[in-house]
Symmetry: D2
Subunit: 362 residues, 4 copies
Amino acid sequence: MAGNTFGHLLRLTTFGESHGSMIGGVLDGFPSGLTIDLEALQLEMERRRPGKGDYASPRNESDIPEFVSGLFEGKTTGAPLTFIIPNKQHRSVDYDSVKNLYRPSHAAYSWEAKYGHYDYRGGGRASARETAVRVAAGALCKQLLLLNNVSVVGYTACIGKVKANVDLLTIDKSDVLRSELYCPDPIAEKMMLQELRAVKEAGDSAGGIVETVIRGLPAGLGEPVFDKLQADLAKAMLSINAAKGFSYGEGFGAAQLYGSQHNDPFEYTGSKVKPLSNHAGGILGGISTGEPLWFSVAFKPVSSIKSTQKTVDKQGNPVNLTIEGRHDVTIVPRAVAVVEAMAALVIADHMLLSGKINHRLD
Amino acid sequence: MAGNTFGHLLRLTTFGESHGSMIGGVLDGFPSGLTIDLEALQLEMERRRPGKGDYASPRNESDIPEFVSGLFEGKTTGAPLTFIIPNKQHRSVDYDSVKNLYRPSHAAYSWEAKYGHYDYRGGGRASARETAVRVAAGALCKQLLLLNNVSVVGYTACIGKVKANVDLLTIDKSDVLRSELYCPDPIAEKMMLQELRAVKEAGDSAGGIVETVIRGLPAGLGEPVFDKLQADLAKAMLSINAAKGFSYGEGFGAAQLYGSQHNDPFEYTGSKVKPLSNHAGGILGGISTGEPLWFSVAFKPVSSIKSTQKTVDKQGNPVNLTIEGRHDVTIVPRAVAVVEAMAALVIADHMLLSGKINHRLD
Amino acid sequence: MAGNTFGHLLRLTTFGESHGSMIGGVLDGFPSGLTIDLEALQLEMERRRPGKGDYASPRNESDIPEFVSGLFEGKTTGAPLTFIIPNKQHRSVDYDSVKNLYRPSHAAYSWEAKYGHYDYRGGGRASARETAVRVAAGALCKQLLLLNNVSVVGYTACIGKVKANVDLLTIDKSDVLRSELYCPDPIAEKMMLQELRAVKEAGDSAGGIVETVIRGLPAGLGEPVFDKLQADLAKAMLSINAAKGFSYGEGFGAAQLYGSQHNDPFEYTGSKVKPLSNHAGGILGGISTGEPLWFSVAFKPVSSIKSTQKTVDKQGNPVNLTIEGRHDVTIVPRAVAVVEAMAALVIADHMLLSGKINHRLD
Amino acid sequence: MAGNTFGHLLRLTTFGESHGSMIGGVLDGFPSGLTIDLEALQLEMERRRPGKGDYASPRNESDIPEFVSGLFEGKTTGAPLTFIIPNKQHRSVDYDSVKNLYRPSHAAYSWEAKYGHYDYRGGGRASARETAVRVAAGALCKQLLLLNNVSVVGYTACIGKVKANVDLLTIDKSDVLRSELYCPDPIAEKMMLQELRAVKEAGDSAGGIVETVIRGLPAGLGEPVFDKLQADLAKAMLSINAAKGFSYGEGFGAAQLYGSQHNDPFEYTGSKVKPLSNHAGGILGGISTGEPLWFSVAFKPVSSIKSTQKTVDKQGNPVNLTIEGRHDVTIVPRAVAVVEAMAALVIADHMLLSGKINHRLD
């Protein structure tokens, strides 16, 4: 297996499996001299943590990263920031019933083809547990971005067919955090919770969409050909478990607009020239314009569902499968923290690449 | 500027600017011993070439790649495949009127912020002319894939609001190639042409969607964490000029489905276990299943339009801009070849990474 | 800080600092399906371990790597092999006397210039303790190489001016392992031990040279331009603490030979064409010939010495420095394991790059 | 073939073969806004050019790089700097006699093993002609370094057993350039020329050593673990054709020194703390100290010699080989420019990595 590292100058390597003793990450290329706010980091971890609402998996893990290098007296040293997160619960017993069959839409099928085996106990390295490491690394990046007045705010834009009505460009993060589903539209949130209860009762699962805005971004981030800012974001987002699509600015909707509708004319504000509108999504030619960068990520419904499914066992015999155990009805609210984390990694990396952040902060 | 190279083991570096003497590419990591069909390569170039329909830019360039290394007596040698494509027409005169102002939604604005200058004559390196190099490199990869029975077929799925009705998984490439717009649904094609004529008359431009299927793919391609097959495809697609979104399988639609609808149950065919349906899009857990891989790419409408637009000049004075000269009404049909090329690069790269293609073919 | 990862397809990321709770490594790209011999791995760790002879630092650490991912029921899974090695002794007290001054030839000086601080307690990430991780990763690679009949054997060729007399190409590893100094020439070993005792009594330190041979190598490893096999080996070796030079084949001696002396004529052995001699060192044009690959690495004397040295403190005041505490008189015998480990990483990486080792071994 | 790209942030990709129509390079990541002195660049090309002295190959090529992207009105644009160098002479006839046999110590043997073929006409991509591209790219980097008061000066330190007597740390570049052999010691130069005449008459060839000093280097360059400054230099140097060894500071000699001899004590100069001596070679712990960085590269004698050699043909029959045609008696003086170029690439790359050079110079 390769590809356990992400980034150009700021590189995150993640390790560990869902049923080993720990997972963890190495964040290489992080500047020296930044005082880390471990409480703020922990709040990010909480947002991804399972077991909060009754639509979520009751697996309750505190997920407190322990730093083993790169921090000295509260400050980053320039050495790779390495942290481990212990895996507290190992209930392999949950998985015995699925050991010998193929669960619909589970990674086991393709992993067996690649590696000749699969860790049936919970996906091993395929498990979304790996994203806890991304959230921790992203939290570190967010603190670096904050120092540069760059903020990353995501929210639950859709659960199934329920859509929130939110002005993304002016969204207030505290409104998002106040919501159990990370949806700052209280009417939509109520409908989403209703929908999730119904889905849960039906033994089914739901997908959804996370929308995100990055504000305070300097102009000039991104490399114009293959490493366009949107290209690196797209890769980051599609590397998240269950993500099925990425778009920025008007996205797929742009395909239906005329140029005269989609173009953002420039105006002079009295002090500088800037676009009057932002259909573009904050990027032109692969490079940030300085306007808010906004994008969407679509997530499929969770594949582990309680209601009976037809499938086959490894010998090819038909099986009626009923998956017991703790599973999310939807992962969309928890995915908000992961989307934000990956966005923060990409932006911090490009800030370093463009010299907008120095390697030494003192 | 960095980021002019794409790929893991099979790496494409592109160079050149729209108004220099040539553009070109270096394809590093291509196996030795493959006999290259230069005619087939030329047909790919033709599909991207401007100036074919009356909806396209009349700039007519033959775009014949000249190989300067890596080919000996018709076979690849293992040395990097390097080719150059001369730039035949340099009519800088077209651009004088736009030299001192900001064209709505043009890259000039963000590039100036990054580099302190911009080549007004046609975007320099930001020009979509660079994609000709990608098509040539992709054509080489397609020949490598063909040897392994892997085919990549894209088509114009939408122009503006006109949608084709096509069964993507069983699409026939010859039907696509027969169509002027690379749309194998003749009814939709007629409506698209009608729409494009209307848009052209209005001095406007249109966007659209390219859908693509990769068939014959072995199971086991893709690296499971950051270099998931869909993540690398997403980056490839969003690195194409004017692309606004990428999705695979049910994509954004998956967000509205229940798990019981989206899951693909497994069946036993008598010889092997395989999924009964393919909502997943041919990838589970970042790794190919062996089923057809299908995905969509959205393109925005061309930003250079003939009808008058309000903008400002570099001093901030309001300007009524009318862009003359040769511009595509839509780039979607031409983009089909670019999407296919980038997909072929990603797949060939992952075939090499997984050892499904050897570095030496003799 | 960047650059904590080494390799192309097989990538080692190391983390941790000498005075943190642990050090460790992530080995990404290692094939799935290999049964790991943990005892053999431990023997490699022992060879690098301090505190064995009386010429070595008495710091005694058992250095047993604990695997946290990538191993399941004794076999590699294809997931990144991650292991941690606890740091048992933290005697910061040793370092108080040196906290406020510049030790001659210590990294503290250049690190402060780069990062604005330095972990005086033992070099933090600059400490040679990091090489324990390399030895563990190298031991995994050696087991992979052994499966392909490739062996890596190093030995202590010189300590100071005492030179061993050994036929490197036919060296027997058991003879090396029998020696306390990893020097299979018993007469030289005796003189080396004598020299080291004298150096120790004088409160001084000694350097030396490690010579290594890789046998069983297939022809065709290495990429011919920048990633020549010797170039990757050179980088690997110069990345080891205290290494001052790398050469292969006749090395610096080749500069004094005539072409007629240095050339290796080809002969026909009855079954194949091969070079009659091996001045080249097993590589031609950056690519392995299939003959034994032999190379040398020079190490400087340890910079921490007991005898009094003149230096200055951080305010610039002259100081007579006497370094107490546990320090090696020479690191050369311990470096043999590190050199072998880095060589094994490079060779295994190139075996994977060339398709000589598959990503899946079952 | 892979590995045709070198560097972290500043990346050189070279392409082309000795007997194709051209060779060339793409230098990606070079800052925008630098005015390039093409005459100074041409002088560097001249130093590598064959056919100057009577000890050198009479193949006379002007080697003038033609820029095809990245330069606009004399200034770098930030786009990749791409240049081509035409191959003027194609006398394949010279090579007919060697087509069917193995020349001692030629790359043909290992390349055939890797690729299944070899371009007998002159090595194709294995030819040292590729280094002309490196010299051009290095010349661009030198202009960037000069702006930052960093200079790279190499010279011919040995030809065979003749050694120059030069104080490297205070060497004057104009003294080097005045010498036909790039050896600023006139007595040694005379003896070297004498030796080369004798070697030529004997139909033989000679090796030698290039020593180089980099002055004006800021402290803080280099990444401390795998990407130590010396590790990247070692890789750069061993990637040059015919290079057999690299060492820095006291190099292999350091192995024979005691710590008390090799250590560089610190002193206070009245304004700052700096090392009193520089045995270390300007690097501690992988990071530059700000003192001059000095290193050596050993080159083997040219393998193509005129005097008769025993070898075998591809069928294994013994052959008495006499190589006619134009070949250098030694490549050491020409290699000085290549060594300097690769050093300039490494240093400029690390200046960018450390933020000592900005991506935009205006």
